[in-house]
């Protein structure tokens, strides 16, 4: 669809909707290829269906804006795409509307929503749309026999070169422990002791001097492309898009991937609650979630969507199923991000991580 037809479509939709009291909602997400996938799979069909308009805004994560808006009583964001830990903690702090899950439709195959969504996808104040994961990747044009396990990531003798990691304890501590021999399923048991944290930090110590720390999701593909790092942790969708859209020679290593969900939340006190809820119901339906997966390699949060996931939007040969975090070949040694653990221990682990980092 060209921009022009889109504009015409939106314009006529607004005109028509003017008669049936259309709402205008502000939907906030992470920008880049990810927002594009949402615009294509959710926003456009929803606008066409309801006649409402969507103003799409970007943000860089965190709940600071939501907190400011809610506490000042001037809520201008109607829907925000957030990470699981943020969704839970913002809900705990009373910043979000609670969502009654009974409004969600059953899956396309008839499974009720409560069973169709994967574990942890339905929260008191949030409904998940995608599964994404933190993986590590390398440039295969520069490394013929590349790394295959998370232990290789920490082995600078065997694979020399700098490493890129997100400047946050999350995912890094987990990966470090698995690299140190902890089974993926035991990671959080080990991390909940002080000695376990020491162990993870000691493992990170072995590559600390060689590490470049990134903060925004767009940075790691850039670091790899510039040759700044030999391998880096990254969000799988970002690496996939660098490969699929820009033809970069990057390879993803799925061993010890840490997977997580992104969810829709509604800031408390929005004036467009009904439209926002309607958008959630629409966008997290089986078909929409599957449609989004043809734009970016994040897995749908509904099990029933998997059957409908096809190929990349402009390349029918690129089957998306193989590139999802949840694909059987990728999922073997996956770590499920434990949001309850992080809600309880996030403050303390951030302190310890930052103290470790600054030394």
């Amino acid at each position: 669809m060209t921009l022009k037809t889109l504009m015409a479509g939106v314009a006529s939709a607004t005109l028509f909707a003017g008669m049936v009291s259309a709402a205008e909602i502000t939907v906030v997400s992470w920008g880049g290829a990810y927002t594009k996938s949402q615009v294509e799979a959710y926003h456009k069909p929803w606008m066409a269906k309801t006649g409402n308009t969507i103003v799409s805004e970007d943000y860089s994560g965190g709940m600071a804006e939501v907190k400011t808006q809610v506490e000042s009583g001037n809520v201008t964001w109607d829907l925000v795409d957030v990470e699981l830990a943020d969704a839970v903690s913002a809900c705990d702090q009373g910043l979000l509307e609670t969502i009654d899950h009974s409004i969600l439709p059953a899956g396309a195959d008839g499974t009720p929503a409560s069973e169709d969504f994967i574990d942890g996808a339905l929260q008191d104040c949030a409904v998940a749309s995608i599964v994404w994961s933190t993986i590590f990747a390398y440039d295969s044009s520069k490394m013929a026999n590349g790394p295959t396990t998370i232990a290789d990531f920490f082995d600078t003798a065997k694979f020399p070169g700098k490493r890129g990691m997100r400047k946050s304890p999350k995912a890094n501590l987990e990966m470090a422990l698995v690299a140190d021999g902890v089974a993926a399923g035991d990671v959080y048991d080990v991390l909940s002791t002080s000695a376990g944290v020491d162990r993870a930090l000691a493992k990170l110590d072995t590559i600390k001097a060689d590490t470049v720390w990134w903060e925004a999701g767009a940075q790691p593909p850039q670091l790899l492309a510039d040759g700044e790092v030999a391998m880096t942790t990254a969000y799988n969708g970002r690496i996939f898009n660098a490969v699929a859209s820009e033809g970069k020679p990057f390879t993803i290593v799925w061993d010890a991937q840490v997977f997580d969900t992104d969810l829709w939340v509604i800031p408390k006190g929005t004036k467009n609650l009904e439209a926002a809820l309607d958008f959630i119901v629409f966008s997290t339906a089986t078909e929409q979630l599957a449609a989004q997966a043809s734009w970016i390699s994040y897995g749908p949060a509904r099990k029933s969507s998997a059957a409908l996931v096809s190929s990349f939007h402009n390349n029918p040969d690129l089957k998306m199923g193989l590139h999802m975090p949840t694909a059987p070949g990728n999922f073997a040694n996956a770590i499920n991000n434990d949001y309850i653990f992080w809600a309880d221990n996030g403050d303390e682990l951030n302190e310890r991580f930052n103290a470790w980092l600054a030394k």
């Binding site: 907190k67 705990d92 910043l95 008191d124 809600a343 309880d344 221990n345 930052n354 600054a358």
Partner: protein, 466 residues
Amino acid sequence: MSNISKKLLAADGTPLRKKLAQALFQSKLRAFGLVSPLLAFIIVSFIIPIITLLWQGVYDDDYATAMPNISEVVDAWDGYDAVSEGMYEALVKDVIIAMSMDRALTTKAGVRVNREISGAISMHKKLMRSIGKLKISYEGKEQKAKSIFRLLAKEDTERNFILSQNQRAEIGKKLTKEAIEKYAPFEQFVLKSDKKWSNIEIWRAMKVASVKFSPAYLAASLDYNYTFDGKFEKRDENRQIHILLFFRTLEISFIVTVACLLLGYPIAYLLAGLPVKSSNLLLILVLLPFWTSLLVRTTAWIAMLQGQGVMNDLFVVFGFATDDDRFSLIYNKTGTLIAMTHILLPFMILPLYSVMKTIPPSYVRAAKSMGATNWTSFWRIYFPQSVPGIGAGALLVFILAIGYYITPALVGGQDGQMISNFIDFHMRKSLNWNLAAALGLVLLIFVLFLFWLYDRIVGIDNMKLG
């Protein structure tokens, strides 16, 4: 004297002194009227927000508001006696009332306690779940507390609660009364929801959290714990971070100021000595970076300094480094220093230039004509006259540098972070605005102290911006 003034009268017969005072008052009023829009603007958009935010650094009533009963009980408790049934009961009572009013009240209280001891959030949530399963009668029907809370939270079409806050609180109290009659004692009930409630530390943490005016956040921003018995205890070494960062912030700001002075002084000197036409052209070059976005400039430095960047390529070409062993010029303290010096340089050059412009060249010529060498005439005659510009430039750069955070965030890596990056972290990521405010307060007090020190040593009047 007084006799004379009494005799001086204005044309309309009032004493001249009174008339003069009136006139002065009027002109003052006019002047005040002229600045009052700006004053009002500053008060509304700057002073009030700053005070409200900093206030949060010493005041936090999240816990005391949500949990009034248990707050009172732990306040009276000495922190050593065994946890009593009365404390368990007060806790359950508060959670029931809070949940009747608003679900988030209890979780908010849990978040507050979690800042003192990890794990409190899920303990509070588990307790909420257990309480939700208790059967209590409401509107003539015995049902799960969970369903009652849901009924109480019903909203009308205008999105207001159907029941007022007081009504919900009253119902909450009634529910509590029944729950106590039916289910007390509560010790086993609470421990069954999570056995960690038997840990005395959690109750001590609640005691700390229940204090509204509390030095807890200020203590945390200086790497101390404020304990339940009112003492300050140094944090575990592996959690100490803020003092280190305050010192690093100082160190980086100081080095950047000195570097700006060393680089800026000769440029300003050159500019001041050139004819107006060429100096204006050069001045535009100094100002050019001002018209470029801060982000663009910082990103440009990344392209220049990174491992595969321009500088390192040059070093390799000229043999200062080998291809495998390039310099780490960015994502560390060096990167922060270089980028910040570049960005802050104009703030040093401009005050220096405008002060140097006013130094008459004839003084230096006079000194030379009396036999002073170039160096003596510069050092004894020119330099002292440029000191006010140095003072202004250095203070400007230093104070700007202390609050810098975008550049260190982008190029600072692990050891180039400054305290403002942590204020930013607590504002945006951890949502611990109280700690962010406390850190900001400490930083503000510190800057004011430096200002005072500067005034003492150099003198604030001895500073000129032109």
